[in-house]
């Protein structure tokens, strides 16, 4: 294999990574602002809305959307290292998300049985909990490795 073939092969691999369709960098700012607004509404909603349970569901979805926007928006400079760390962070978030979904109900059961043994029950995790955990892990892992690796 000559050097041209090696280069062509590697360029192709990098292009595959670049095919991750990311949103423009300004979307990250929109996502952060939306997240702040959603968290404020989540806490202040009890006093502002009469139909709080319905509003709460909408706010939870807003939190998920804002985290997703932060997660899939480009950095100011997106290069091969950024793309590699991004892919690693998604893999890490997926694996920890699965482990979290398996372990967390039993961890709650254990804590509850220690605290109040009669009321201890095995509660299933909600989709929202798992998704928010995975998105938070992905964003944290990506930003941490961007700074320290």
């Amino acid at each position: 294999m000559n050097i041209k073939n090696i280069l062509a092969h590697e360029e192709k691999d990098l292009k595959k990574l670049e095919n991750l369709k990311l949103l423009p960098n300004r979307v990250k700012t929109i996502g952060i602002n939306l997240l702040i607004l959603s968290v404020i509404l989540l806490f202040a909603g009890k006093f502002l809305f009469t139909e709080y349970h319905t509003v709460r569901l909408v706010i939870k979805n807003l939190i998920l959307i804002s985290l997703l926007l932060i997660s899939v928006s480009r950095n100011k400079i997106e290069d091969e290292r950024t793309l590699r760390l991004r892919v690693q962070s998604y893999a890490f978030a997926f694996i920890t998300g699965v482990l979290y979904a398996m372990v967390q109900p039993f961890a709650i059961l254990l804590v509850e049985s220690i605290m109040q043994s009669e009321l201890a029950t095995l509660v299933e995790l909600s989709v929202f909990q798992v998704l928010i955990f995975m998105l938070l892990v992905q964003i944290s892992y990506f930003n941490f490795t961007m700074r320290h690796r």
């Binding site: 280069l7 950095n75 100011k76 400079i77 091969e80 290292r81």
Partner: protein, 67 residues
């Protein structure tokens, strides 16, 4: 693998930011390469070596741990 990127940069008297702009990556990527935390792709290594007018092997060197 270790590299002499910092030395080469000092010879040309350019900052990490300037080098990053020349080869089209972020300053953090140059910093990570200099600290041996990130191994660049062949394409990036060739771009760096072309800028310093040296071969890739003169800048990036395999050590015992790569054997």
């Amino acid at each position: 693998m270790y590299n002499s990127l910092k030395v080469e940069r000092a010879i040309l008297d350019i900052t990490q930011e300037e080098l990053a702009q020349h080869i089209g990556v972020s300053r953090q990527t140059i910093n990570s390469i200099e600290k041996n935390r990130y191994v660049p792709s062949t394409v990036l290594a060739l771009r760096i070596s072309a800028l310093f007018k040296k071969t890739v092997n003169e800048i990036f060197v395999l050590d015992d741990s790569d054997a």
